[in-house]
């Protein structure tokens, strides 16, 4: 699918779609509509989740899902406010997301609900609770 077809496919579920080139597609959605979109993507033949990125944007954390739609790449952005850092797991639909969601939990402190393996297995053994290295407020201890 090129960008146009993917855009048509997901129009019903996302807020805004920005087509950069025929292979790059940036879209924004919210938690609920995103959940409904996933089965539609799967039915359309999108099976590869490239990765999940978390970005600290000050008062919100953006979670970006990168779906490989062959040849287009869909970058789906979901903004979570820092008061409510929760998102549903997508591992039931895309099992390859297990590691990326864990990465998200550890690096940015986003809580992934329904994750099959949500244990905190973070950084060194003695890493302090509640410190997330990719958060803006993370202070590096002096060496």
């Amino acid at each position: 699918m090129d960008s146009k077809e993917v855009a048509d496919l997901i129009k019903a579920h996302v807020g805004d779609v920005r087509i950069v080139s025929e292979r790059r597609l940036f879209a924004t959605s919210d938690k609920q509509r995103f959940r409904d979109l996933l089965p539609a993507l799967k039915v359309a033949g999108v099976t590869h989740l490239s990765t999940i990125t978390g970005v600290d944007r000050g008062n919100a954390v953006e979670v970006i899902y990168h779906f490989d739609c062959q040849p287009a790449i869909l970058n789906l952005k979901i903004s979570l406010s820092k008061d409510d850092l929760k998102i549903f797991t997508i591992t039931d639909i895309f099992p390859g997301a297990v590691l990326y969601e864990r990465d998200l939990m550890e690096m940015l402190g986003v809580k992934v609900e329904g994750h099959p393996d949500p244990q905190r297995l973070f950084l060194p053994d003695d890493w302090p609770e509640g410190a997330h290295p990719l958060r803006k407020e993370f202070e590096r201890e002096s060496k």
């Binding site: 950084l123 060194p124 053994d125 003695d126 290295p133 993370f138 590096r140 201890e141 060496k143």
Partner: protein, 137 residues
């Protein structure tokens, strides 16, 4: 030169441990055993166990997770032992000097006998360092 140190110089065995490097130096350390460089000419061998090793070859900056392990491995090696730090990373942290999980340099934790600057150094440079370090035995 005593008899003991003569034999000690004739067949030092190496133990390689990567404490968080990028693999560049590790591969060059392995490259010293292949036909092109063949450090068995000097009686050296890369071994898998610290109990058999005389020289500990360390590559990479020291990460928090690897710090305890490298100290432990050093303690397990029999006396006399030498430590050779390969690459710029164990010497100072190289490009990782300000990363949050890097606690290096190596000489903060264990004594280092010789350094091989380079990023990564050529296998010849590693051989040069090993030969130079052995002269000190």
């Amino acid at each position: 030169m005593g008899l003991v140190s003569f034999f000690r110089r004739k067949s030092p065995w190496l133990l390689h441990f990567d404490t968080g490097g990028c693999n560049g130096c590790s591969i060059e350390v392995v490259a010293t055993i292949i036909p092109r460089h063949d450090i068995e000419r000097f009686g050296m061998q890369v071994r898998g166990s610290p109990r058999h090793a005389d020289i500990l070859v360390v590559t990479g900056p020291i990460t928090k997770q690897a710090k305890d392990r490298i100290i432990r491995i050093y303690e397990q090696m029999p006396e006399p032992k030498m430590v050779v730090a390969v690459g710029s990373c164990p010497a100072s942290g190289c490009v990782f000097y300000d990363c949050y999980n890097v606690v290096g340099p190596l000489d903060k934790f264990i004594p280092v006998n010789a350094y091989v600057p380079g990023c990564p150094p050529k296998p010849e440079a590693i051989i040069f360092a090993l030969v130079k370090a052995l002269e000190k035995v």
